[in-house]
Symmetry: D2
């Protein structure tokens, strides 16, 4: 009997989503004759049964497109905003899954999506997930699609800033995405040759940052590039946050996640002002913002998304459900969804990337 | 007798400076046997007689480099910062010019440089200038080198923001360089398809901006890109500034120029917050900053800088001094320096670019 | 009474066509209430009355797209291929123009399109044209849209080749588009810092090219980049062609145009082999081909296409027909179509670009 | 006692070499106080004892540069061209190693370099290698630096060709580097959405390629992109080569490697002509050539080269010699050099990438 599957994209915008949809869809259709239907706007569309036919024509020409043809949302099955309240809509979702006679639901998303997908699995659905996020913070996979594209954009920005920082004896503070995980700021900081890298996992001392900049000045380099992740915190801010969290008995520091981008930007400008005062050098800000989520995916991300998508189709044909398709060297690996969900892969402070950054002279302000 | 010339770069960093230095230098050396010496860090280096030999080897391989091999500064001959004071160092500069036995001084810069160069001409030096600035605000030339590169960078940013603005029903506010002239925000806004463009020359009404965004939402487009020049002002801010200026009897509004980039960025974040309140949509900021001054010059800027540089060499060989080498269609034109200096080419509110932006549906918030 | 216009794109693919269609269309619709209809595949679609509605939705989101949403062809009204023959279909075209109750036909194209558009004007139609081509060979306009994009692509290629030519003591021969006009090879050669530039307008002597390469080697630069336009000819080839042309009494050398790209590529490989023999250095070929016609238009081309498109709409509203909308500095100019048609703007051998290339040390092999 | 090491780059030009030199060098100097000296032009410079001091200043600012500051050559220690003969210079090299009082020699290169480095190890030197090549054909590492950059360039080319192939009903044949291994053509073909991919590991039938193109035409897609690796062979050519090899009792098909790029290009033009004849469609060639080796390394390659370089320094400090530093997920792995040398990692015809390409509809012409 012909298999039938659904597919949705959930969470923040990420380059490579369309390449992955195409990879899953074309392989299902042409290799296995599996029928495929798209749900719009993530779990919300699944709940509202808003579908999109995914045939060969729809899947053609989308490989290079940014965004997602299915639309996305951050809504969760068990906490769906309904007329001002958060309502558990899991039952409706399960009903729609069965009404569409699906054999499997493919969820493309990051850490939050993995948790939501696991909940639906526990509610009885067959699930396969693919790891996408520019943050690279999904567990048990070499990498996630979207990360390489964002890495390229942020690195290109640092490159341009470098060529102008020289001429004017300045500090350039460039804010890079990353609420909880610093992979992107760390990776781009290394690849772009930043002088200081500040990430959420390594609370910084602003005096130490200033000292690193002044030390460069003394060595005849009166300019510095500071790459700062959105969620980077000074040691004082970090302790304050820990205390608040302790009071709330919320050990997971969830409120960190909820800080909106305008507040991050204000914090970055404030850091720039502090560094001006402490170093006597002028500071100039660059805030990349959603630049990092946009545009055509990089070649590596398209290749990754395509091969993970095709691998998902192979698993579906074999009825191997309950897994995330992880990147593993040149190939892919099916890892149990329950081992992934709820895990945030942050940067271990002694990680090889941190060590190699220190090796080439980067200060983390610690 | 062999001619001998000096060359310097002055003002903000701009892509194409090295291409122009190479164009002047190689043509002088190989076509005319004119000797050429570089002065470091703009007029300051000329005053301090800090020179750099410019031979074939030095001029080789610099075509594609951002920044300037000569260094630059914003120091003015007649107001040179010396031990905490501004001192008129024109005499020293004139003396150094003669000590180096120069027949001509070539100054690469923007509007401020034109004024300073004219002062030196009036002090008796032979001067030729080339128009460089990412702001495109030099009079009597089709364009300036640096503008096309910055236009490309800012447009590329808007492109990326577009592909992600769609998915999340948001306002994206992108700040683009331009203190007094809005050419860059206007050009990139048109080329990138921004929905709202705010420039210094057209004071805006924040309610009108919000209405343009809400009107798009009503038409099924719940996202908007707002391209805002650093120096854009609301009508209230503009009036306040005019009054302050009137009190100071300073009709040229010089203080606008002196606002540093951190204040611009704060103003941009404030605008984003206002738009959130007025529209009920989330706003996300991108602040390009010095990104726009960095990196390799675009092909068009390299071609322009090379051909203006070569034309400058021709003029020197013909002893036609006292002119700026202007871009004019495919060729160049020598315009009297005194006609250029002191003129800031701002965007006329009824300029063809503004009209064509309105034609394709852009709001200026006026 | 409401005006009504048609629009078509004709000739080779060029970046910026969609930006121009959007500029004409949006301005017509929103500023003047002019109705607009597209014809598919150039003059062929006009002859077959295959139309495409161009409303606000269709014109939205096309600014950044390469190619043309209308399709294009090289078919000519008076020599339309019909069942193996070339038939004059002018009457049918005129009839379709009237059947669609058009007030004007807007033709986007290069030199060939200008001639065909003039023929239709002489047959009684109201015509406005816009100059598009990557070759930059249309008369009486500063430039054409498409040229800046292709210039950027070809220059970027030369940049990459430079960084590798150094290491291996090689000649790199890079073939750049341009059958009759060498603007693109010349511009990219200057912007990319090529060592030799060969263009159709300056027949070369292969021994002189080899000598330029050997001379560089003697100066310690054992690598050279040769930028060669498709239509570049050695002096012998040029004379042979002239003789053949004289025999055919065809002074316009029309056959040059008809050589297909595979033959150009073979000629380029042959040149590379000759240079290997004459210099004793290894040669490596790069043939850019249709790369140069593809991808999103550059910011400058989008801006140019948008403002020329909007200017065309203004002319239509004023019923100023029979003109090409030319680029002229920051603004545009309406030039009589009859002054443009039939003129090919080739590179004058003493043009300022050639002079500035020689100034920075480029050899033309002459 | 202070350690002292030498470093060299060998084989073809590859983006990321300077990033790796900087990673090794800066980490050695700043973390471990290890002294480091560079040898120019690969093993030739080691043999001739031509050295380059590598201090902090020399290592600064090279992260983003293409090429290699050390220079490179393809010369082998045991077959060094000396006055027209190939001479075994191993002893001289060993002597120079000791004369420089080195504790270790770091060799950056591809497959050939691994073999040569192993020979020097067997001659008694302490060796560490890093895997660089755009071909991705080194064994026992996830990837090699240089590959991601070349992948991006080739994919970008296919993207541009796509946007123009549509308009003109054509076959575009794009030649991509890869003499023996098809990873680059395969990866870029998948990432760029090529319709046909031809690689050395899967001999093709030109009729089958034509049939795939004609089949697309029948489905309303009268254009096709054919991505062909330099070393791709038709089944007939492959068999002929096998026979010749058998006669020569040379099972490794070494002559494949020695075909120069001009011959590859001619073979590609010939394939284009055959496809024109077999399909009735026009074909257009693009030959990327050394484009793929040039320019600044991608962010991913800089990150990879930096972290492998830093890991090499750690190994040196621990005196763990005789290994290649392999990429392994986010981290690195030291693999015995003898397990790597002599292994060429070609594409297994049933590899996951090939399968996923077939999944999305790519033809391999087999």
């Amino acid at each position: 009997m012909t298999q039938s599957i659904g597919i949705l994209t959930s969470g923040g915008d990420t380059p490579g989503l369309n390449a992955a949809i195409r990879g899953v869809g074309k392989t299902c259709l042409s290799q296995y004759g599996i029928h495929i239907v798209g749900f719009r706007d993530g779990f919300r569309g699944l709940m509202e049964n808003r579908t999109m036919a995914l045939d060969g024509a729809t899947l053609s020409g989308i490989l290079t497109l940014g965004g997602t043809i299915l639309g996305t949302s951050r809504d969760k099955p068990h906490k769906m905003p309904m007329q001002g309240k958060l309502v558990d809509m899991t039952e409706t979702i399960v009903a729609n899954y069965h009404a569409n006679q699906l054999d499997c639901l493919v969820c493309l998303g990051g850490g939050g999506t993995m948790k939501n997908a696991l909940r639906l699995q526990q509610a009885g659905l067959n699930i396969i997930t693919l790891p996408k996020t520019i943050d690279n913070d999904v567990a048990l996979t070499d990498t996630t699609f979207g990360f390489d594209t964002a890495l390229g954009i942020a690195t290109d920005a640092i490159d341009r800033l470098h060529s102008t920082a020289h001429s004017h004896h300045r500090i350039i503070v460039v804010e890079i995405m990353g609420h909880r995980a610093g992979w992107l700021a760390l990776g781009a900081g290394i690849a772009g040759g930043a002088d200081v890298i500040l990430i959420p996992e390594i609370p910084y001392d602003v005096e130490a940052v200033a000292e690193a900049i002044k030390s460069r000045k003394r060595k005849g380099k009166p300019f510095s590039i500071v790459a700062v992740a959105e969620g980077a915190l000074s040691k004082q801010e970090f302790e304050l946050q820990q205390e608040t969290a302790a009071k709330k008995k919320d050990k997971k520091l969830k409120e960190v996640v909820s800080v909106p981008e305008l507040v991050y930007a204000e914090r970055t400008l404030s850091l720039a002002r502090q560094l001006e005062l402490l170093t006597g050098l002028e500071a100039r800000p660059t805030i990349l913002g959603h630049l990092q989520r946009g545009g055509t995916p990089s070649a590596a991300d398209r290749l990754l998304a395509t091969r993970l998508g095709a691998a998902a189709a192979d698993l579906i044909a074999n009825k191997e459900y309950g897994v995330m398709v992880a990147a593993h060297g040149e190939t892919s690996l099916a890892v149990p969804l329950q081992d992934v969900a709820g895990q945030v892969k942050t940067v271990p402070p002694d990680h090889a990337w941190v060590a190699s950054a220190r090796g080439v002279g980067v200060s983390f302000g610690d």
